[in-house]
Amino acid sequence: MISARSIAEPTIRDTVIHRLDPRAKIIMLIATSFIIVALDNPQTMLLLFLVVLSGFVPARMPMIKMKTLLVLLVLVMWGTMYSQALFYSQLPRTVIFTIIPPDAPFLGWLTHGGLFVYKEGFYYGAVQALRSATVLSMGLLMCWTTDPRDMLNGLARLKVPYSIAFMVVTAVRFLPIIIAEVATVITVQRLKGFKPTKMGPGMIKTALGVLTPTLANCVRRASVLAVSIESRAFRAHRTRTYLKELQYSRFDMILIVAAVSLTISIVSAKLLFNLYTSEIYYSSELRGIYSLARGYL
């Protein structure tokens, strides 16, 4: 059974992926986000996606994580494919199904001439979904192989203010408790005769009924927590030390340099190519770059 816990909790092991510095992982994730946004070539996008996916092999993820990944990827892919099949606005396009006929009362008018499922839109959606799928896979690989404390330590070292990092640590720590509280409140509501999962306007009433006691507990807990951490010198000094010092390995450095260089190269090449295709800037000296971008990026 895939649960919130199977998504959110990391599986800590001693593998080459787990041993990577969290900062290196964050930088690689940011680099992947930039690269995948810059790419347009379906083959290259697929290659990048497969490279990211291949990272799960040395990370030796348990089966439940792999199932979770698969379900999330299928949902992301399907969602994008379906939406693009509906909204695809390029030619050629072949209607394979009519959802709202153009002459349907009101809806035909609302949708400006009906709503159709286009065959080419499915393919286009599948290609574009590779972006979300790549970022999602990279993000999950990073999260599942890194202890949240290390991750936040890494964020703090990357100039995310310590207080913010601490707030996120607190949030991570209290997430299971809050989820458990929400589950308890829902059970109580059910015992009182409510049907919290029933669709319709009652959902808002249910939401209010769930949120009020949950947040009331949060408010109480925040006061206790504040006293507790202040007594442990939280924000007592401008700077602070860390129990665990992060240290880049040679492998981390190679990965960071490679990721950053590749990102700068790809993004710059695509930027120049887009300026050329938009008829804004052209230089004959950049023909090689245009050719590379057209063929592979």
């Binding site: 693009q84 286009y124 707030m167």
Partner: protein
């Protein structure tokens, strides 16, 4: 032109006088120095074998083109319809009755009367007629003579002018072997010469946003005339004649759907009340053994969609409806949505600026909050993550799959109503600037750290949402400690939250379209902004005030 007309009468009178003195002076020599029509007559009479009274020849222009457009020997293709063109203009200051007869050799089939009679009333009065004829497929190839006779009666005196026109009948295979379209240069300049600075086989479609168009007009780079909705580009067609004689050709093109091969209407828009096809052809006479590049305009309507098309270029022998050579090339049309690009770039700059300011002033911003407040924001962020992000990780796509384009009606309950209940409740509890920013920051980082959603689109959307909310809540006084009481206060709060969210939704859609190359229909974006962005957010904000007031009692 006016000057030519005024010159023509005295010069002609002189010519007629000279001709009357000496009938041996060739007409072509005398008229060649004159105005355009006379030159045309001269060249025609050079090509056509002329017989008739030279004085009468000076009184009229009698022009016969078989097929139309060919003045010096024509080519007809077996099994084709062609048109002959007959033109007569009078230079006589008086009436004349004319009967014209066209005699085709046996085998040619004339569609319509071969005998035409009419009257020309005064000087420069003219008459013309197209006469369709058909060359049967079994017509033997070779050169034929066509005779055109004009019988002219002036004041009871009759005279005759004749034209003998040679026409060669060729088979389709012969002509096809002669003509080839070597390449199509897309895009090109008006002369058909390619431009290396523009992507090959690609048209860039124009921006359709009225705002951008208006800005372009103001900047002096856009068109403000009536045809501003149509973009003009050009293609070059390189065509070659490998034969031993000149061929008159009409070069035209059609942009087709690659699947159906039907012409795409957006590439033949209406210009000045006429189809742009009327302007999208070139007629040339291609000399024997030569190569020529012609430029053709391509008119693109602003409603044209991007994608892949088929450029079908064809060459027809002038006067014929048969395609002698054709070529298909796959072309791309790129649509650059500059409005979305502009909005995304602005949002990105705003995000970078906001993050930069926050990082630089983080100590001052964080110091303004008590530790209890920071913990409360953190826990509210956790609650929003648990109540919105985790269920939506699965429900978002399932809702898409089940409800299709109307899934936003369901998704909005979580993403707008529940989320804004939490945001507004936190602001009610801690009415200070920065609360919304910290809450959304915690939510974004949690989303990234736990679900791997370190997505640049989310970063930009959250940032714009935080900036808009902070600005508007501060403007109405909510984060300056003003107590929200009564319906007016709730409506005001609901309205500012709804406006801020509608704005961030609009930005978010544009960023998705630019960075992730996704398509969304205008109606879908509008419905999302109106229902999810505005209505649901308004409800969420309203309920959030109730929730916040209830939670205040817990603190008290």
């Amino acid at each position: 032109m006016e000057m030519i007309k005024t010159m023509r009468a005295p010069v002609l009178a002189l010519v007629v006088l000279l001709a009357a003195i000496s009938a041996t002076v060739p007409i072509t020599q005398g008229s060649a120095t004159n105005a355009a029509n006379i030159v045309e007559t001269a060249s025609t009479t050079t090509g056509n074998k002329t017989t008739g009274d030279p004085i009468l020849e000076d009184m009229v222009t009698f022009l016969v083109q078989v097929p139309y457009g060919i003045e010096d020997g024509g080519l007809a293709v077996q099994g084709n319809n062609l048109s002959a063109y007959v033109f007569m203009e009078s230079f006589l200051h008086g009436e004349m009755d004319v009967v014209i007869r066209l005699d085709f050799p046996d085998g040619f089939q004339i569609r319509g009367p071969a005998l035409q009679s009419f009257k020309l009333y005064t000087e420069y009065d003219d008459w013309y007629q197209f006469i369709d004829f058909y060359v049967p497929p079994d017509m033997p190839t070779g050169t034929y003579a066509i005779k055109a006779t004009a019988t002219i009666e002036i004041e009871g005196q009759q005279d005759v002018i004749e034209r003998n026109i040679a026409i060669r009948v060729a088979s389709k295979d012969e002509v096809s072997d002669m003509i080839s379209i070597n390449r199509v240069i897309i895009p090109s300049d008006e002369e058909g010469i390619g431009d290396a600075s523009r992507q090959e086989n690609t048209f860039v479609l124009q921006e359709t946003s009225p705002l951008i168009k208006r800005m372009a007009v103001i900047a002096g780079i856009g068109s403000s005339d009536g045809d501003g909705d149509v973009k003009v580009s050009h293609i070059g067609v390189e065509i070659e004649n490998n034969g031993d004689e000149a061929i008159p050709l009409i070069i035209s093109y059609a942009i087709l759907d690659v699947n159906t091969r039907q012409p795409v209407e957006e590439f033949r828009p209406t210009l000045m009340g006429m189809s742009s096809e009327t302007f999208s052809y070139a007629n040339i006479i291609l000399p024997a053994g030569s190569k020529k590049t012609v430029g053709l305009p391509v008119y693109i309507s602003e409603t044209a969609l991007g994608g892949e098309y088929l450029m079908h270029v064809k060459a027809t022998v002038m006067g014929s409806d048969w395609t002698a050579a054709a070529r298909d090339d796959r072309i791309n049309a790129i649509s650059r949505n500059w409005t979305s690009i502009f909005i995304s770039l602005s949002a990105l700059l705003l995000t970078i600026t906001a993050i930069g300011i926050f990082v630089l002033r983080s100590n001052a911003i964080i110091s303004s909050f008590k530790t209890r407040h920071l913990m409360m924001i953190s826990l509210f962020g956790t609650a929003s993550f648990a109540a919105v992000n985790i269920p939506m990780t699965f429900l978002w796509d399932i809702a898409h799959a089940v409800l299709g384009p109307f899934s936003f009606l369901f998704i909005g309950i979580f993403y707008e109503i529940v989320l804004y209940m939490l945001i507004v409740a936190s602001v009610v509890l801690i009415p200070k600037p920065g609360v919304v920013t910290l809450l959304l920051m915690v939510r974004y980082l949690l989303n990234g750290v736990l679900l791997g959603h370190f997505n640049p689109v989310f970063l930009i959307s959250y940032s714009v949402n935080a900036i808009a909310l902070e600005f508007m809540l501060y403007a109405v006084g909510m984060t300056r400690g003003n107590v929200i009481g009564g319906y007016a206060g709730r409506i005001r709060t609901g309205f500012v939250c709804a406006t801020a969210d509608a704005l961030s939704q609009y930005v978010s859609f544009n960023v998705w379209m630019v960075l992730y190359r996704l398509f969304y229909s205008d109606w879908y974006i509008r419905a999302n902004i109106l229902i999810d962005g505005f209505l649901y957010t308004f409800i969420g904000a309203w309920l959030g005030i109730n929730l916040g007031n209830r939670l205040k009692k817990v603190i008290e």
